[in-house]
């Protein structure tokens, strides 16, 4: 932790707007806002007045900055494929909660491992993350430390302002660029506690257990896929190619959804996950047990989006002993 390197680390509320304006030097400033339809979302902060730091959770998690819903991977033109041009924009994403930061850290593990995904890597390199502490609500179930700096710069709410902790050289550079806006912290910054997940890795055999909830969930589930769309660590994708009138074609990567029936389909008519029960089990396995190199890694970060978005109130954590519910809730 290099928080001390900043020296002055306290930002008074009255200086917040000036600080945000200063952030624009480092890229296009984005943060939590509320849309005209009343939906919380990360969007460009053209006007600082649109910033809503009292947000609970955005409907769509910040993964959209790293994995666009649809992106071009390749173009075919004049007899050969070539990689699509990389995005090279700089974005400063302000006001990200610790659970979403943990989600991005998980996506980094997936997409920056060998072989790194060029599109993801380019967007990640251009993304500055400024985290902020939060107040958990009824849907939250993380035991992430409420204040941690798995990001470039982390703001912990204190009486009358924020305590700043830099997590990277870029965070330190931001602190330096805003030096005259900062004051000496009234208290030294607390040592960042180690983050831990609310749920321990699960035994994959639990998915075949006789737990009565499996059948109940399968009857209720609408296969709408909302839980996966809004999950900060769901990343599975489909790849499609479309011909162009010019004679070439474009290959696109799009978010896919393991709750959708065609997710397990193969050529011909076979489908390895034709039933809702099988698809729910697949999601359970991916979230709480992990696939292949990530076996034993829980990707649920406790943001509560799936529970708040599910139209039939399915909460897969109820399957886990002590995972959810009034008696088994997390501490």
């Amino acid at each position: 932790m290099r928080a001390q390197a900043l020296g002055k680390t306290y930002l008074e509320n009255s200086k917040l707007d000036a600080f945000l304006e200063r952030l624009r030097r480092f890229g296009a400033l984005h943060g939590p806002t509320v849309s005209d339809a009343g939906v919380a979302c990360f969007s460009p902060l053209v006007e600082l007045a649109t910033l809503r730091l009292d947000y609970g959770r955005t409907l769509v998690p910040p993964k959209k900055y790293l994995l666009p819903f649809r992106e071009e991977l390749l173009q075919f033109q004049d007899g050969s494929y070539r990689s699509a041009a990389a995005a090279d924009r700089e974005v400063v994403l302000f006001g990200v909660h610790p659970c979403d930061l943990a989600g991005i850290a998980y996506l980094d593990t997936v997409f920056l491992s060998d072989p790194p995904d060029p599109g993801y890597a380019a967007r990640r390199a251009g993304l500055t993350l400024i985290g902020i502490s939060c107040e958990p609500d009824d849907y939250c179930f993380c035991t992430e430390a409420p204040e941690r700096a798995d990001c470039d710069l982390f703001l912990s709410a204190r009486e009358g302002g924020y305590l700043l902790q830099a997590g990277t050289p870029r965070g330190e550079a931001i602190g330096s660029a805003a030096r005259e806006l900062l004051a000496q912290a009234p208290l030294p910054p607390p040592a960042p506690p180690r983050a831990r997940r609310a749920i321990a890795p699960q035994d994959p055999q639990l998915r075949f257990s006789e737990h009565p909830l499996w059948e109940r969930f399968a009857e209720l589930c609408l296969s709408c896929g909302a839980c996966s769309v809004c999950c900060p660590t769901c990343y599975c994708f489909d790849v499609r190619e479309y011909p162009r009138l010019s004679g070439g074609s474009g290959r696109l990567r799009e978010w896919d959804n393991c709750l959708f029936k065609n997710h397990g389909a193969v050529a011909g008519s076979a489908n390895f996950r034709a039933s809702r029960l099988e698809r729910l089990r697949y999601r359970f396995l991916h979230k709480f047990c992990g696939f292949s190199p990530l076996q034993g890694m829980v990707s649920c970060v406790g943001c509560g989006r799936c529970k708040s978005a599910c139209p039939v109130e399915i909460d897969l954590r109820e399957l886990i002993p002590g995972g959810a519910g009034p008696e088994g809730g997390p501490p």
């Binding site: 991977l73 390749l74 075919f76 007899g79 050969s80 494929y81 070539r82 990689s83 041009a85 990389a86 090279d88 997936v110 997409f111 072989p115 790194p116 995904d117 060029p118 890597a121 380019a122 390199a125 251009g126 994959p204 055999q205 075949f208 990343y235 599975c236 994708f237 489909d238 790849v239 499609r240 190619e241 479309y242 011909p243 070439g248 074609s249 290959r251 896919d256 393991c258 997710h263 397990g264 389909a265 193969v266 050529a267 011909g268 076979a270 390895f272 996950r273 099988e278 089990r281 697949y282 396995l285 991916h286 047990c289 992990g290 696939f291 292949s292 190199p293 076996q295």
Partner: protein, 282 residues
């Protein structure tokens, strides 16, 4: 910033020729560009490549021969979807794309010295033909080679003349069977009528030392693994080539998980012992 090598970018390749094998299945001979050919030098039978048909997309296909031997690659493809339809309509000279090889192949080094039983159903003959070519090329390294191949009807049996010629030369024992057969004209090569597991039941072999390599439709595995285990083949020596729809081939898209394993990187060839606790695998 796009200086990283792009794992999604296929190498160029060209369609050289197509040979119709049945009403909906053809053998495509493809010429990979040098870079693709260099990558294919590490090919092990049972691995797959991602074949791109421009304008349509990409499909995972297990080569049906040993790619690179003569600088070309044979892909046995059934016309079942969007991409394969465009491939079937393509003319020689059509530009294609190739990525891979991906995944695990058959453990050919470990199989050395043992008898090998190949069990193919329908289009499942394609990857096993590649394995068969490997076994025949290194004939002295392996024990007895037996191929049991089942198809729905005689006209759907792929590579029949080729397999019969190899068997006639003494390279392997060949058993062919079809589910249904109309009256076959005299003089035509005839085969048994019945299912593969029935064929296996009457078959005597050194089960304790043998490896069994199986590839076919999902229903085939469920029938055969019981028979093979009953005959005494160890679960670690029953090799199953599974089918899933691999979109990326590099363990990212998450369409192909078999339990917690990914078909594209941990498979597509699995040992039965790996799949024992995964009821939905077969």
């Amino acid at each position: 910033m796009r200086s990283l090598p792009d794992p999604h970018l296929p190498h160029p390749a060209t369609l050289l020729e197509r040979r119709q094998l049945s009403a909906d299945t053809a053998l495509f001979r493809v010429a990979p560009a040098p870079a693709a050919l260099a990558a294919l030098a590490r090919f092990v039978p049972g691995q797959f490549v991602q074949l791109s048909v421009p304008g349509a997309g990409e499909v995972p296909i297990s080569p049906a021969d040993l790619p690179g031997e003569d600088g070309t690659l044979e892909l046995c493809v059934r016309r079942v979807g969007h991409v394969t339809k465009l491939l079937h309509d393509a003319l020689p000279g059509q530009p294609l794309g190739l990525r891979g090889p991906f995944g695990t192949g058959f453990p050919v080094r470990e199989m050395a010295g043992s008898p090998v039983l190949l069990l193919a159903g329908g289009l499942g003959i394609a990857p096993l033909r590649s394995l068969l070519f490997h076994l025949l090329r290194h004939r002295d390294d392996f024990g007895e080679i037996t191929l049991m191949y089942g198809a729905r009807q005689p006209e759907l049996m792929l590579f029949r003349e080729e397999l019969v010629a190899l068997a006639a030369g003494g390279a392997l024992r060949l058993f062919l069977t079809v589910d249904f057969a109309p009256l076959q004209p005299a003089g035509d090569f005839s085969c048994a009528v019945g299912l593969l597991p029935d064929l296996l039941q009457g078959f005597r072999f050194d089960a304790g030392r043998s490896f069994a390599a199986v590839c076919g439709p999902p229903a085939l595995y469920r029938c055969l693994v019981g028979e093979l285990q009953g005959a005494g083949v160890a679960p670690g020596r029953i090799l199953l080539s599974l089918e899933r729809r691999m979109r990326c081939g590099i363990g990212r898209c998450c369409h192909c998980a078999v339990g917690q394993l990914l078909c594209c990187t941990d498979g597509p060839v699995f040992r039965l012992s790996e799949l024992a606790s995964i009821p939905e695998a077969l």
